[in-house]
């Protein structure tokens, strides 16, 4: 039993890690292969796939579109999710349970189903499939996460905090700006980063709601149909490391603030 704990469990863990990361390493390496096809072994190395992709107009415009969609949809999700959380935190009892269920439901619907439903819905509204449709689709998908993250944070706020501000002469607007928003800031920052990534990597909604301009994941999928080449591996690797750096920065940012407080 001790042997199992001392050796087998770590081994099992590292195997799993290898399973997770080996494909990514292979992909990163493939981008360096000097050939038009993906295959082993790599005998000649090159950086031209990486260099090409940085200047590939098609890829770049897809990336820019994805980034725009991510920022816009996240801002809409915040603008809708935050007031929702504020409303929910003031509601009690059965009503609250019902409202929370309604707000969270979109996160549990099969994405394919909700995307098709949304496509039918927006065509009724007269909105063409395209960037605007994708933005609204992503915003709808992100909003539950914003609402839940903000609500969780609000629920942990001491209920005397707002009263203390009122007591010292703050009206409702000042209470919100000076006390509630700062309290929510870490949750809103986390929700912002999470929704950005959620939107950026989304394929299903973008595919069903998109027009002629493809987002980055949709473009990659289109390219795959003509076969894999090292260029796709190269651009995917670059995107992966960029998003990873963003994620780590966000994580570090929140953790450093926490650490500084624990130190003193």
């Amino acid at each position: 039993m001790r042997y199992l704990r001392g050796f087998s469990l770590p081994a099992y863990f590292w195997l799993f890690i290898a399973y997770l990361f080996a494909p990514i390493l292979v992909m990163a390496a493939m981008g360096l292969r000097d050939s038009a096809f993906i295959a082993f072994p790599i005998t000649k190395w090159t950086t031209h796939w990486y260099a090409d992709m940085v200047f590939d107009r098609e890829m770049l415009s897809a990336l820019v579109l994805s980034a725009r969609v991510a920022v816009l949809s996240t801002l809409i999700a915040l603008a809708v999710g935050l007031p929702t959380a504020l409303l929910l935190t003031r509601t009690r009892g059965v009503m609250r349970a019902i409202l929370v269920a309604i707000v969270v439901m979109p996160a549990f619907l099969p994405v394919v189903v909700s995307s098709i439903a949304l496509r039918m819905f927006i065509s009724r509204l007269g909105i063409e499939p395209g960037t605007a449709a994708i933005v609204f689709g992503h915003a709808a998908g992100s909003m539950p996460f914003v609402a839940v993250m903000a609500l969780t944070r609000l629920d942990s706020m001491g209920h005397n905090l707002a009263d203390a501000a009122r007591d010292l002469g703050a009206d409702e607007v000042i209470v919100f700006v000076r006390v509630v928003l700062p309290w929510l800031a870490p949750a809103l920052f986390g929700a912002f980063m999470f929704c950005l990534l959620l939107s950026f990597e989304d394929f299903v909604r973008s595919f069903f709601l998109g027009g002629f301009e493809p987002t980055f994941p949709v473009l990659l999928f289109a390219k795959l149909r003509f076969g894999l080449n090292p260029g796709i591996a190269a651009i995917s690797t670059m995107v992966l490391f960029t998003t990873m750096a963003l994620g780590l920065y966000a994580e570090r940012f929140t953790r450093r603030r926490r650490l500084r407080r624990d130190d003193q």
Binding site: A164, D167, G169
Partner: protein, 365 residues
């Protein structure tokens, strides 16, 4: 502030939550510079009363005046009173200095004046070097002091303190009691303090209002509350008390003749502390503190003698607590010198002078 109005006046405040009555007609006047404690068991309405002065609970009826001004319907942020919350409620994202300055900022004081005020208060709470700390970098006692300074900063007419020492451990609690009292003395502010801890109330207050079931049972100095309790509840809630049932046999000029467990006893009428006068035939309660019973000896005429079978003795070093049961079956608690090492089962005898006990009218229900 040279006003001569009372700091706070409450006129017949009532508040119910559904069928539960939280405040049942409380009227109260708090003069300036007084340290008043609202004392009572949990659920007696003391916190609700305090929060209604602060503006966080709206009374169903009644009037609240602060410095002579009717503020019954004013929102909390316009009331010239500030609260110290039990959980301190310091703003976690603001430094100590910003916390203390918040109230002054809301009054639109200029930056320099706010800084000066913060310096003053940091000095007052003896934390002058900690202005830049964040609240979660402070100990419990320090947070407590910052909360006090923050509430004092806008120079309110009165400070409202809602069990502010409840979260501290015993030693710190005693330190903070002295500190609070000292700050109150130095600033001359009116303090309305809520607690369920009778020792805390007795040691800090100028006046104690004992509350029970949404009413004030008695409001008086700590000494008077202890030595002349006005109701059986007050007598039982504060300190230990023996309560003997009695019947009034008659009332003459300056005395009351009682029948206490079959023996006749005359008390000066000044020993009656409840408001209502007694008449022959009324039921009454005699309150005797354990330390007012003297061991042994034949009593003189003005002394009540209590005899009984010794039940147990608890030595406390310089003195002992003993319990005995009288012939009528009443358990009596008394203090005795430790030399009185009688055996359990022995008959013991105690006397109490008629000027030491208190007699209460029993409310007919």
């Amino acid at each position: 502030m040279t006003s001569t109005n009372p700091a706070i006046e409450l006129k017949d405040i009532r508040k119910s939550y559904g069928a539960a009555v939280a405040i049942d007609g409380v009227s109260l006047t708090v003069e300036r510079g007084v340290f008043l404690t609202l004392l009572g068991p949990s659920g007696c309405g003391k916190s609700t009363l305090l929060r209604s002065i602060g503006g966080f609970v709206e009374p169903d009826s009644g009037k609240i005046l602060v410095d002579g001004r009717d503020i019954t319907h004013e929102p909390a942020f316009r009331r010239p009173v500030n609260m110290v919350f039990q959980d301190y409620a310091l703003f976690p994202h603001m430094s100590v200095r910003r916390n203390i300055g918040f109230g002054c900022e809301m009054k639109n004081l200029d930056r320099a004046a706010i800084e000066r005020r913060c310096d003053e208060l940091l000095e007052l709470i003896r934390l002058p070097q900690l202005g830049e700390r964040m609240p979660d970098e402070l100990s419990g006692g320090q947070r407590q002091r910052v909360a006090l300074a923050r509430a004092l900063a806008p120079d309110p007419v009165s400070l409202l303190l809602d069990e502010p020492l409840g979260a501290l451990d015993l030693k710190l609690r005693q330190e903070m009691q002295n500190e609070l009292k000292a700050v109150q003395k130095r600033t001359g502010k009116t303090f309305v303090f809520v607690t369920h801890d009778q020792e805390e109330a007795m040691s800090m207050s100028d006046l104690v209002a004992v509350m029970n079931r949404g009413r004030i049972e008695q409001i008086a100095s700590p000494r008077e509350i202890y030595s002349r309790p006005a109701t059986a509840f007050v007598a039982g809630f504060i300190g230990a008390a023996n309560m003997l049932d009695a019947e009034v046999e008659g009332v003459d000029g300056d005395g009351i003749v009682l029948d206490i467990g079959g023996s006749r006893f005359r008390l000066p009428s000044s020993r009656l502390t409840s408001g209502r006068a007694l008449r022959a035939g009324d039921a009454a309660t005699v309150v005797i503190r354990p330390e007012q019973l003297a061991a042994g000896g034949r009593g003189q005429e003005q002394s009540l003698e209590l005899q009984g079978r010794l039940e147990d003795v608890t030595f406390l070093g310089g003195r002992a607590h003993i319990r005995f049961v009288t012939a009528t079956g009443q358990m009596i608690l008394a203090e005795a010198p430790p030399s009185m090492a009688d055996n359990v089962g022995d008959t013991v005898s105690f006397i109490c002078g008629s000027n030491e006990m208190v007699v209460l009218a029993v409310d007919q229900k």
